[in-house]
Amino acid sequence: MIVLYALVPAEQAPLVTAQNGLRVLARGSVAALYDEREEAPSTSRQDILDFGRVISDISKAGPALPVRFGTVVESLSALGDLLERREAEWQERLATVAGHVEIVVHAQDAAAPAPTPAAPGSGREYLMSRAAARRHAEAMYDDLTAGLSAHCRESRRLQASEEIRVACLVPAGDTESFLAAVESWAGAQQGRRVTTTGPWPPFSFTEKETG
């Protein structure tokens, strides 16, 4: 079976495959990097991290769109059809992420209203607490993205339970000023706490923002 790793500009593919032994199938300006295996990749932590290391190596060589871990295709002809159908979309994304890295920002506010009342109360109190916490989180998200917009080509809100989590597409040479902007945002109001991770390959920017 064919295990997909990433999509890259066709002219970049030979360099990448020479480094890590992956195979390449190109259609037009976009190439898919893949491996042929007898068995599907397992969902063990080690396999996932090994996949991540290959993605990291590919991204160091130039613009790349990582494919979600665990994706396999039936045949090379199916992969070729896929490349032909989505070449324009992936070409645009490759141009967008070129020269950029992804940094994930986690933000919390110690002064945020609790999502549930401190003491058991009525259903109405519970719903009002939830609504207040949600409004606070939305305001914090808007404020964070506004504060970082000058440093992000694009941003995506990621799923999170008790914090705001935002992926930012940052020029690779601008990460220090981006982190300074994050610190500045956090320091502007007492109680804000931020953690950043990355730089990562552009996992969150493989598709154009919708809505």
Partner: protein
């Protein structure tokens, strides 16, 4: 920086990396569930959240059938 802070940061980075590897990237179909350090990470409807409908291709399938929390 204390050891505790370093460990917290490393954990956050590891979770972000694994989350992005299985929840980000080019989406062709489906969701997966996996276990990390004995904790099941369950992704519910990621396709709906992270991928537009046109990203789902009939000719492509996940290596394992998806498990969903709801249904």
């Amino acid at each position: 920086m204390s050891v505790e802070q370093v460990n917290v940061g490393e954990d956050v980075a590891l979770v972000d990396l694994i989350d992005r590897l299985i929840g980000g990237g080019v989406v062709l179909t489906g969701d997966i569930v996996l276990s990390i350090a004995d904790v099941d990470l369950v992704y519910v409807g990621l396709r709906l959240v992270l991928a537009p409908a046109h990203a789902v291709e009939d000719s492509v399938r996940l290596s394992r059938p998806p498990r969903r929390l709801e249904e």
